[in-house]
Every structure is written in C-alpha cells, then in structure tokens.
Symmetry: D2
Subunit: 379 residues, 4 copies
C-alpha cells in the first residue's frame, strides 16, 4: 500500500461525508500507482455520539466537536468540507490560514462574495484546493470531454441540460435541520440553482467554455413549510424550480432547467450538446452510457450510438473490472481523489479549483438575479 | 362506400398536399361509419404540368392554375389550403366569401394580423373551419389528453417541449422557392417559431391550458444564403433556433425550444408534463409509444411505463390493425379528417378551429417579440 | 393514374383481407411510376351481407359467395387468397388452372404435401405467384438484408428470433370459427409454428441462407377449449408455444421461439444476427428502427446504433414522407404489391414465390416432427 | 468498526480475487450493523512477487506461495477460493478438513463428480460454505425474486436467458495460462456452459424452481488455438457457444443460450420470465433497472415499466446512496459477503451453498451430455 500518508480531517458525516470517506478508503485499492495514501485521521461533527458512530464505521482515528480544533491540528494535512453551504467560507478561510490542503463540497459557497473570499484565501495561502464537482469524472462524461476536445463535434450550436427531481412535492415535508438544510435558504444560499444547476453549469462550462449572458425564471411552488429548527411554519426562501437560457462565448445557445417537482425523476441530470458534425447526450440515471451521433457515418447506417462506457480504453475504466461490467455513482468521487492525489504528487493544479468553481458561482448568482429582475444578465 | 360526397378543392401539391390527399383517400376505408365521403374534385397549382401529374397520381378530377377560379367553383364544397403561409390569408378570405368549408395548413398565418382577418372571415361567413395541427390526433398524444382530462396528473408543475431538426446546418443550402419556402421570411412569416414551435404550442395549450407570459431568444446561425427566387446571396430573415420559457395560467412553468441545427435529430418533437401524481412523456420519433409514470403504483415496482399505443381501447386504434402493430405519421391526418367529417355530419365544431389556431399565433408572435425586445411579454 | 388495370379477385375479408385491400388502394398513390393499377374487381365471402359491407367500404365492384365462380371469372386477372389455411390449396389449384396470377397469404399451406401440390400447380400453369411474407419489406428489415448482402457482417456465428404474444392466456377463450380459426388445428394446420414462426423462418432464410437441421419442443398450455363451430369443449390440437434450435448451412447456430403466453408482448417479433464484424437487431414493436453494431468503429465511440429508418436513402422511404416521420405495419404490404407489380411489368419473378415459401413450410414441418419425436431432424 | 474479526485467506489474485477483496474491504462501511469484520489476513499466489504486489495494494497482512500452508494456518478462519476451476476440489477438501469456512468462486467445480466430493467434504466437516453466484444479489435481481415470491406473476409459462459476449472472436487469441485459463478445457472444465450459463442456471432455478430435462447443442467456432502453457497450436476443447431448452418442474418452458461470438455484446446477461399475470425482464448491461409488466394495470395505461432500482425500499439500497444514484457490478459481492456474515453471526445457512451450487453443476453436465448425444437428458 502507498507509503506516503495524507492525513484527512473530515468536516461532516452526511451523504457527502460518506461519499468522500468511501473515496479515500478505496482510491489506493484501485489506483495502486499513487504514492500518496489518504488516512482518515479525524472527523468533526457537532454531535459527539454521532461523530463517534460514523468514525467507528469508517475507521477515523479520532473525532472533534470543535471544527476549529480540527483545522488547527498539526497532524492533519487536508481538510474536506462536507458541512452545509453556510459553513464553507469560514472553515475554508481557517483551513487556508493553517496551510491545509482543502477539498470543498459544491457549491463553493452561498454566493459570489463568499466565494471570492475563499478563492483569495487559498490563493494567498498557496494551498492546493478543489471543489467536488464530481460528475466531470463519471467516465462517460470524461469521454464526452475527450470527444469535444478532439474536435469531433465541430462548431457547437446548442447545449441543453436539465436536473430533475421529485422529492419535495409534498407540502408536509419540513425545511431546515438535519438532512433538510438544502431547503433552508440561510443554510443553502439558494434552492435548485446552487444545489443542482451548479452541477449542470460546471459540466457545461467545462465542456463548452464560458457563458456570456443568462435569462432566468424561478418558482417556489410550496410557499410555506414547517421549519425544523424553530418548529414554526415559515416562508420558503429557496427556489423550487429554475429555468434559464444562456449564450456561450462560442456563439452557441443553451437551455438549463432544474426542479424538485418533476414527478418520476429521482436525479435525472441529462445534458446534450449539438455540433456541426456530431452530437452527444448523457443521462445520470444510466450514467455508464454515452449517446453519440456522428454525421460522418455512412448515411444508411447512421444513428445514435449507445456507448456502454465500460471498456479498458474508456476514461478510468482500466482501473475497475472487465468490459460490460458497470460502475456507479460513487466511483466519480474515487476518480476525483485519484486525480487530486496525482496532482499533489506532481505539484500540479487539478481542475476544478476554487477559482474555477467561482465561475459557476457567478453564473448561479447571475441566474438568480435575472429571475428577480426579469432581465438578461451579462457575465 | 359513404354516399354523401364532400367535394374537395386542394390548393397545393407539396408535402402537405400529399399528406392531406392521402387522408381523404383513406378515411372512408377505415372509418366506414362516416356518411360523408371526400371526393378529390380539383387541384390547384401554379404550374399546370405539375398539377396534372399530381392530379393523375391521386385521382383529382380536374386541375386549376388560377386559385380564384377553384375557390369560386360551385361544385367544390371545401377548400384545403396547403400552399405557403403567405397565401393563407387571401385564399381563406375568398373561400369564406364563397361559403366554402375551409381546412388550412398550420400555422394559420404569418402573423396575428392576418390570422385575425381570417378568423373574422370564417366566423362572419359561418363556414366550418379547421387548422391542421395534426399531432393532436396521434393516438398516443390523444391518450395523453385523456389521461390529463381524467385528472390523473393532479396539479401541474412543469411542461417542456422541444422540436429538434438538423436539415439546414449546411451553409450551402439555398433559401426560398420550391421546397425551401420555409427558409424565406416573406413566404413563411418566421422560421422554426411558426413552423415547429407552433406545433409544440398547439399541443401544450390543448393539454395544459392558456399561456400567460413568455420570454424568448432566437438565433440565425447562417446569416446569408443564396435565394432561389433571385439567384442572389441574401440576408436570412428567419429564426434558425428559438427557445422560450412560459408561465401557464394554471401556475405551471414551461420551457420550449426548437432548432434546425441539432445534429442527429430529424424531427424530434418531444413533450413532457409533470403533475403532482403522475407524469407523461412523448416523442415523435417513436410516436406510437407514450411514457407514463404513476406515483400511485406500489413503490417497489414504480417506474416509467412505455405504453405501446396499439390496442383497441387506445384512441383511434380500433379502426386499424391488431394490438402490437403500429401506425405512423400519416394516420394523424386521417384521424383529423375523420373527426372533422363527423363534426360536419353533426353540425358540431371540431377543434382546432381558426379561432383556436389564432391563440397559437398570438403566442408565436409574443415569442418573437420577446426575442426582439429581450423582455417578458404578457399575453 | 396508371392506365393498365390488374383486376383483383379477393378471397376473404378478415384482418388480411383488409391489409391487402389497403395495399392495392394505396400503391399507385405512392409508387406512381408503376404502370399496372390494381382494380378491386370482386370480393368473395361465404356470408353475402358481410361481403357486401366489406365491398362497399373498400369499393369492390362486385361480390361472390361461391369462390369457384370468382376464380373462373374472365374479368379477374389475379386471385388473392386471404381465407383460412385449410382453403389455400384448393383455391390456389383452381386459380392456377384458370391461369390467374396468385397472391396467397402465409403460410403457404397447412403442411408440405399441400404446399408441394400448390407449387406444382403454379409452375405447370406458369402463373406469377407470391406469398405474403410481408415483413421482408419493412424498410428496416430490407435494410438489414442490404447490409448483410454488402458483406458488412462477415462470417455469421449466430441468429436468434422470437415472436411473442400474450393473447390466448385466458382459458375462457374459445377456439375455431370467425376470428379464432388460428386456434383450430384443422383450419390452421398448426399453432404458433405456422402462424408466427413461419414469419421468423422466412426472414431468417432470406437473410442467412438455408437451414440444415432443427431440434424443437412444443407445448399446449391450455389443453381444452370450447370450440366455436360445435359448441363443445374440445381438445386443443395446436401448439401454443414452440422453441427450436437450428444449424444453418453457413455454419451459424440459431434459436427460435414463439408463444402466445408471453405476458406483456402483443406481437414482439425480434431477430438478431451476429457476424464477425457487425451485428444487427430488429423489433416489430418499433419496426422503424434497426439496431446496428459495427466493430470497425473507433473503439472509444463504438456502440449499438439505433438507426431511425425514415430517410430517403433507406429502402422504400423515398416514396413516403420526410426524414424523421415513421411509417407503420401496413406499409409492408404496399411495398410487396409495388414490387410484385413491377415484377409483372417486367415479367420477372419476385420473391418470395410459392416455391420459396415451400422451403419455410418444410422447416415448419421438420420443427413439428422434431417436437414430436424429440430428435434432431435433417432438412 | 465491528469488533469480531473473520480472518480471510484468499486463494488467487485475478479478476475475482480483486472483486472479493473489495467486498471484504467495504462491507463494514456500508453494513455497519454487522458484528463480524473480515480481515485480509493472507493471500496465496504461486508467484511470490505478484502475491506481494497484490497483498500490498489490498492490505493483506501476509502472503503464501504454498496454498496448503495457507489452508492449514490456525490464524485463518475462512478460505476464499478464486483460483481456476481445476483447483477448487482439492483446496476445498483441504480447507474443510481444516475446519475452515469456505467461500468458493463459481462454478463449484469442473464437473459433478468433483462437486459431489466437495459437498460431501463441507457437510461432513460441518463448515459454513457458499459459492459466489453473485448475480442473485444485484438489487434488481433480488427484487425480481421478491416479486415472484409474492405471487405477482401467477403461473409461469416461460423463462429465457442469454449470456452473450464477443471477446474470443479473433482466432489469434491464445488459450490457457494467466488470464486465459477459461479457454483451456483442463483448467475450466467447459467453456461458456460452466463460465456463463452456470450464472443463468443459478438465477433461473432460484427464481423458477427445479429443471426436469434439457436438450442442448454446443459449438466450437475456432477449432485450434496456440496454447500459452505449451506454445503449441492445440485443439480447442471448450464450447464457444451453447444453447439449450429446458422444462422446469412447474411446467414452464425455457430457452438458454450463451456464446463468446456475439459481436457487440460484452457481458449481456439477460433474463425474462413470463407469468399469467405479470412478466419481468433484466439485463446486466443496465443492471440497476428491472423491467416489469403488470397485466393488472388499467388497460389504457398498461406498459412495460422500467424500474430504476435505486430507492431505499429496494433490496440492499438503503445501505448505499440516495434515490436515482446507481450502484454497479461490484456491489453484488459486497451484498453476498454481508448476507454471509449475517448468516455466520446467526449460525444460519445462507444460499447458495455448495449443495445448491451442485444442482447447477448437474444441469451444466446434463447440458453438455445432451449436446454430445443429441438427445434430451432427464435430471
């Protein structure tokens, strides 16, 4: 096993805390060429009992209930921030001040102002940093990036993406607190825009370049919900749904939409990109496939190809099983850790950094502003 | 065979002239309960030789090269307008003045002003009229309407539709003239908005009610093309692509998009509607299927259903073959004729009328205005 | 319209009588280059009232209730046999004796002995003849044939086909008589073997060459049913299900299966052929698509292609609409008539003839023999 | 972390050695309720260097190059046999003699005689044992089992399964030795029958009960290949393809087929089961979905459901992520370990045992005998 430890201090133990812990635990098994080895050194959680339970399950060596202590510990090399969005800024600033490597869950922050402080902090501290926009490293999505970079699509005309869920349709669902902070404006910063569209935007600008302008609308279908932290019925501040159009710098047009009110869809993130010569589609619900249409094929046998992205010459797949056997969602985190560790070993920046994630944050903020003002917003 | 003739005077012999002629020729074979029988009495085309060839193929009894003569002939009961959009108004006005039943290809007109004159004309003349928004009568689409009317979806949150094509990507393609008038602003009135989005809008307001406001963008990717009528390179006036958002009167949000630059899609008209209890999807490329998700199903076996709309208890299907055997695109026209004839027999209005098609026209115009002004437009 | 009439005498007015009548009525509209024009001259049915109703709907000029009279009429050029299988032999023999062109529904006969007499009769009489194995002329299936003939698949290893239905699962369903003669051994000759597997076999030997040997099993799940002709509960003599393996002359292996007890499938005829370089799949429930996998594609973007067989350069499709707009089941009959008429015009044999259909009959008989003897049967 | 260690001695480090090691490493992270904790104590491989590399990657505490030593070590609780089929018997017998828990890769053995010895050995020794027919524990497959056990399908009429691959089409591929022992008759015992159909049979008898009789054919397309162990061109002894029919004890009919010559398929294991009331389909290439057709649905909205098996109330899925996020192939091994450990804790037998796997072995042997004799074989 790799001999150089990278001691991880984990902030949070929820859905993402589990996904990241798993990535650290697995990366050296499947990427044995790495010299760095993440060590689950310490876990922070407000509630000590829960912290101990999670630490025990995952093998964290110690727990802290004061995150400042964790961030200051000299035996910690890297801080992974998996706590709610309203905590990202403060923890990241402290971690940077302490010279820690920082891995932060997406979105970077609740807004651009917070994000700018964070970028400044890591850049001034000179600490390696990344934001967990993990979908870039689903092999089919990485393959899409390769095909585009190879010029197979030619001039791009259109980009479209949706992220559809249906889990908040019931008005009985409360907002806020454990497991539901994403519905609380103060904790989350926004609703589907920061939670779901941020993923769509990150992929889009990675694949198709910068966005020039946006025009958006948002809606909150259920106006009031009980708040778990106060017990009162309170106004819902987040956007339940958001749709926006964009113009990219390369002249292509885009439509984006996200909602938590699309009955029948759990986590249907799909994107499509149409170029002069070829088009690509992808769908998170069948994440191991990539749709590809190549106009260069003989006309009689031209058709959308369903690429089963499980072969050794597909991105990352030589690290896993044999052709035909699919991997799943969690593997995208393993890939991000693997790439990030390789970057640390070579002292190279690995995308997406805080600075890159700030671009997504700016677009999210422009989208929300456009929805409020009912005007196009330039970036 | 049905004994009461309805003598048809057909204006035009292009793609739609063929589709409608086929509908008239077949309707009594498959809907033998009808008493009215369309008779292909006369065909108009500017070019006499082409008119004779088409008339000979389809069995039209006579041809005219002056449409006014056709519209005035006393042996003609109904005028079917399949000529380019810029001719609809004048022909419809003359036909109404002559007391003819009128069937007009979509879109109703190039703009609202023309459409309003046409509605006024048919209403004052009291002549039965319809516009060929044929997709309503694809059995899967009609089934969607039934399911919505039965209340299976509950409160509607979202509607989304796209109509994607790829046939005008080449800059070498000319505009205007025979077969290409849809690319000529003067003949067509608009680009994809009137040609393709008009279909999407017609279906949407039929299924989901009125639209309150829209916000749009358009693009013309190829700015100049040779014009077939002049031989000169001329500015392209139509919209190659158009995307818009809408708010429906029932509070639901919508996104619409159409383009002729989506490589890999020939005529991919899809719509999806998300309700509180159920959702529906449909796709013109597999028009004999309907996607249906019912949240009321047992949770362990809940999933999107692919309904193969070929059974005797599906709309219109008892008129055709046996379960499992699909019909195609052209049958939607047969169904529209069948319903229209039944309406004539019973002296009942059959949807969509000119007046209903004017609603779609208004939305198209609002969309184009919004794209121009970059502002939301109220309806 | 084409000037040379081919006067049709139609035997039967059921499902196939309707499908064929439609083909005759439409062929000159969509294949205007044909000089021959089918004329619906006379219809035979045992029941005069039903005959008149059908004749009236479809425009048959006259009706006969004695098929011998029809077959002898000098104003009839061609006899189309759509009556139950147990009538094929006798009618065909009389029609041949009278020098008529003969178009016979599949299967050719109830057994090889009958089929051999029929082949002998048409060959001695020298009359043009065909059997309605219409699936060959679904454009996607014809395209499969073209791809195979071009050598794109290379050496063939495997062929597999199923034809799955679910319409006879209820033990309450009677056998025999109007609409149910396919369940009556005497009328049909066999169950799914002659009715459904005959289609699969016809396609298979057309695409992949001769079959050398077969090994089969059959089953009758519901052993007794009320017989509509007697009113008594009688033993069911037909095969409800049949599965067989085969070896082709080219060395490839095959599996075939058919049943009327596969819940969820209306008419799911699928085939797949695997070659050294490429593979093909097809499915009657989405008959306008062809699956194609080409191992010659770049490995990173290799995948099954879904070819939407609606373009002008796909077989037959230049006669219909525009790319993206699908045709349906009934069009296969129009194509067969079109090809058959073109053959008559040029005095050329058009496949499949009676002689070719006899090959399929021999394989069906071998399959039933193998099921009975539980031994491989050589052909 | 769970406090009771179960010390694992792993035999082999190939594809399955990796899959099982991963399962041991992950099971306590995702099934924290387990009290037993697998410890990767020792690894055997013939080649010491490779053994050390693998042990280092996965954290095995020690290596052995003599498997007998490993099996005798008192600090080892359980032996996991991942070496080629020809080694299973001997190692299992020794492991049983030493009182070890045994987990054996499938197929149990090369033939029934070996399998019977192994069953006898574990039963006499009274050691817990299992065979890694892991597909039973893919959540969608487990869900199929639940639906069948709940009686949702009613009387079963049909079962069909295929396992199609395309990796041995090239005649240049050698047989035997590292990574290719599956092509060597002596090492593997058979070709696709034991390697792939064994999986299909195990699932089938688990879902649908015992098989009464089989009728099979096999083929070896490439007759000679270079043998890696000798360097000589040698006769290929394995079956490249095998198709068989079966009758189940419940009266249903089945077809099974497997090949490594189906171009376009990497590991396409599919099964379908048709019952009186409902049908089920599954496909390894999209293993997180289950097809389900329920005839009890309202007829107008009846259709095949695509169940996205990612929800908390689907088997095993409450242990992983959130609805909509899929797991992959490797998780089936984690589930098998989890169930096996739970069984050990409760002293309960967990299926499939050696004895159950022997049933599959007997069917495989009957299939091969039938192919040889060209006769039906009773079980």
């Amino acid at each position: 096993m790799s001999s150089n430890p990278l001691n991880i201090g984990m902030i949070g133990y929820g859905f993402m805390g589990k996904a990241h812990s798993n990535a650290y635990a697995r990366v050296n098994h499947f990427f044995p060429e790495l010299k760095l080895r993440p060590v689950l050194k310490a876990l922070w959680a407000r509630n000590e009992e829960r912290a101990r339970t999670f630490a025990d399950t995952w093998g964290y060596e110690s727990v802290e209930t004061d995150w400042r202590r964790l961030v200051e510990r000299s035996d910690i090399d890297a801080i992974d921030i998996c706590s709610p969005n309203n905590t990202h800024r403060e923890i990241a600033l402290e971690a940077a001040r302490n010279g820690k490597v920082i891995l932060c869950e997406k979105p970077l922050a609740r807004n651009v102002a917070e994000g700018e402080e964070m970028v400044k902090a890591v850049e001034e501290a000179g600490v390696p940093n990344t934001v967990w926009y993990n979908y870039r490293r689903i092999p089919a999505v990485t393959l899409a990036k390769q095909l585009i970079d190879e010029g197979r699509l030619g001039r791009i005309f259109h980009y479209r993406a949706v992220f559809l869920q249906d889990w908040t349709i019931s008005p009985e669902l409360p907002q806020g607190g454990e497991g539901l902070w994403r519905l609380d404006l103060d904790a989350a910063g926004s609703g589907v825009t920061g939670d779901l569209l941020a993923h769509c935007i990150d992929t889009a600008i990675w694949l198709n370049g910068g966005i020039q302008s946006v025009s958006a609308m948002t809606e909150t279908f259920v106006k009031e919900r009980i708040h778990n932290l106060t017990g009162d019925v309170e106004k819902v501040g987040i956007d339940d749904a958001c749709a926006f159009r964009a113009r990219f710098e390369n002249g292509s047009l885009a439509t984006f939409e996200s909602t938590r009110y699309a009955r029948g869809h759990k986590a249907l993130y799909t994107f499509e990109i149409n170029g002069e010569h070829a088009s690509i589609t992808w769908d998170l619900h069948d994440l191991h496939r990539l749709g590809y249409f190549d106009h260069g094929d003989d006309s009689a046998v031209r058709g959308w190809r369903s690429i089963h992205v499980t072969d050794g010459d597909h991105p990352y797949m030589d690290h896993w099983w044999v052709p035909g056997l699919q991997i799943g969602y969690e593997h995208s985190f393993v890939h991000q850790v693997a790439d990030f560790l390789a970057g640390l070993e070579e002292d190279e920046t690995v995308s997406p950094t805080f600075a890159e994630a700030l671009e997504t944050q700016k677009i999210c903020e422009a989208v929300l502003e456009s929805a409020r003002t009912r005007q196009w917003v330039q970036l």
